[in-house]
């Protein structure tokens, strides 16, 4: 299957062996979008790597920037002013909203619900992208965060626009769920399909909503409490069965929790500077050493591992891509199911090839 199959979410190929319609073996094949992102970043300065991170998971450039900025801040010992932390949470959670909405839309598209759910999701996603555009100048390749803060400040009007979006998003979710959650076809196609047992999920390093759908309470926002996440009240939704339906529900429930975080952040955001005055963007030379920084991106744990040798370029730059590692269990989830279920199971993992192949 693939690499040009419309259900593979980009150029991704699966080597599938079938008995009739039943999957007997499935080996994913990668590399169609490989551009050696890590090598490129190792030949550039710390600052120059930020726009490249936009292109990893190209639906979520804000969270990619954040993960990288967090790792550099750990490596160089930089702090982030409070206002910048709030802005990061706001844009990061808006990214989660549009990613999850889009993911549910694509999942339904994969099931054959042509158009309608995806168009509804994209209508809402457009509003988030409009906000990103007016803040950073770009809709998808935002290049917005910097180590030690963010690039530009947001205006009061921007914040009130964001608050309007957040206030209206709940009713969109209600409508979306009325259309989908109780739908008979959706339940028939997803319940009991692609079950991922709890132990396997942990051992295979599955992270993000896919892990929590299997009932493991592990969210980096709660575990590491990076940034200012300890200030917000939100819950971590957990699944029971670990099937495609639970992974779908995780996205919907997480969007509702994200709305709670956004409401609190938009209410409490203080005035102040948005950059650490000590941060030198150009010609940053961190002390010799290494750091691993990670965040809860919409796809799972996004980590950056950096080694500095005291020069302006990172000696080693490594991305821990959640999309790639979540695919480790694709074969285990698909074995014994029909070929049509492979499409649905793959859609429920939520991958972006820009991040898988790097």
């Amino acid at each position: 299957m693939g690499p040009q199959h419309p259900s593979t979410h980009g150029v991704f190929r699966m080597d599938v062996r079938l008995d009739g319609e039943r999957v007997m073996r499935l080996k994913p094949v990668f590399g169609y979008l490989h551009r050696n992102h890590e090598k490129i970043a190792e030949t550039a300065s710390y600052l120059a790597a930020i726009p490249y991170t936009d292109r990893l998971d190209y639906l979520c450039s804000m969270t990619n920037n954040w993960g990288y900025a967090l790792a550099v801040e750990k490596l160089a010992g930089l702090t982030v002013p409070e206002r910048a932390e709030y802005i990061r949470v706001i844009v990061g959670e808006l990214t989660r909203l549009q990613n999850h909405a889009g993911m549910v839309g694509f999942l339904l598209q994969d099931m054959g619900a042509s158009g309608t759910p995806l168009m509804y999701a994209f209508r809402e996603r457009e509003r988030v992208l409009d906000l990103f555009e007016s803040l950073s100048g770009a809709r998808m390749m935002c290049n917005y965060m910097r180590f030690g803060g963010v690039r530009v400040d947001c205006s009061a009007e921007w914040l009130s626009e964001a608050a309007k979006l957040v206030a209206g998003f709940g009713s969109f979710l209600d409508e979306f769920e009325k259309l989908l959650t109780g739908n008979e076809i959706l339940m028939a196609r997803t319940q009991g399909v692609g079950v991922l047992p709890r132990e396997l999920a942990i051992n295979a390093g599955v992270t993000g909503p896919g892990l929590r759908a299997s009932g493991v309470n592990y969210d980096v926002r709660k575990v590491d409490r990076y940034g200012i996440y300890e200030r917000f009240e939100f819950r971590v939704p957990l699944g029971e069965h670990g099937d495609v339906f639970d992974r779908y529900m995780m996205r919907v429930l997480e969007m509702r929790e994200t709305l709670k975080i956004l409401e609190q952040a938009l209410r409490d955001i203080p005035a102040g500077p948005i950059m650490d005055p000590k941060a030198r963007l150009r010609g940053l030379r961190p002390k010799v050493g290494e750091a691993y920084g990670r965040i809860e991106s919409p796809k799972g744990e996004l980590g950056f591992y950096l080694i500095s040798d005291g020069t302006p370029n990172p000696y080693r730059y490594r991305v821990r891509p959640p999309s790639l590692i979540n695919l480790t269990v694709l074969e285990d989830m698909c074995l014994g199911h029909n070929i049509a279920d492979v499409v649905v199971i793959l859609g429920s993992i939520d991958i972006v090839m820009g991040e898988v192949d790097r």
Binding site: G31, Y218, V288, G289, E290, R294, R320
Partner: protein, 191 residues
Amino acid sequence: MILEDVRARLQAEIPGCQVDLVVNGSPSAQNSLLIDRQHGLEAARLLRGLELDYCSNVTAVDWPERVQTDKIKSKQVVDGVEKEIEQTVKTTIPGYLEVVYHLFSMSKKEGPVVVRMRTGNRTDDVTLPSLTPVWRSAEFQEREAFDLYGIVFDGHPDLRRILMWEGFTDYPMRRDYVPPPDDDLEALGER
């Protein structure tokens, strides 16, 4: 989880296992444990028993041969007068490849415990034990380290190139990698 305790447990329970603490000078202060490769798999099993159930990140680092310059100050008596003499000592550190594992505990919500292993050199002694039998999450990441750095993982269930194509011969993430000219398809392994 205190790294010194982990180190003591490893040394106590695996006879002959050599574990060194690698100090990290950056503000992150994420120190790591360097485990000798003969006992790598045993050590990994023990670490997993210590509730480090989640292996998050697996990656490789290339360290070519390098010359380290140290300045050593010593006191010597010259013509009856004590003088401080500064000597420059150059030591050649042979090259090696290194794999780094970032381990976390999902049950205890702790981590990271950083573990490293090193190969003998960069050319013909590049075999390390695969930790995929202990943590499945290492499967694709070890394949990637094999593909881009040329580290051979002993005991890996499916060690093939993952990002580069079959028939490609070089290791592009190595420090001394020189890409062939764009139009030289033969050198790129195209057949």
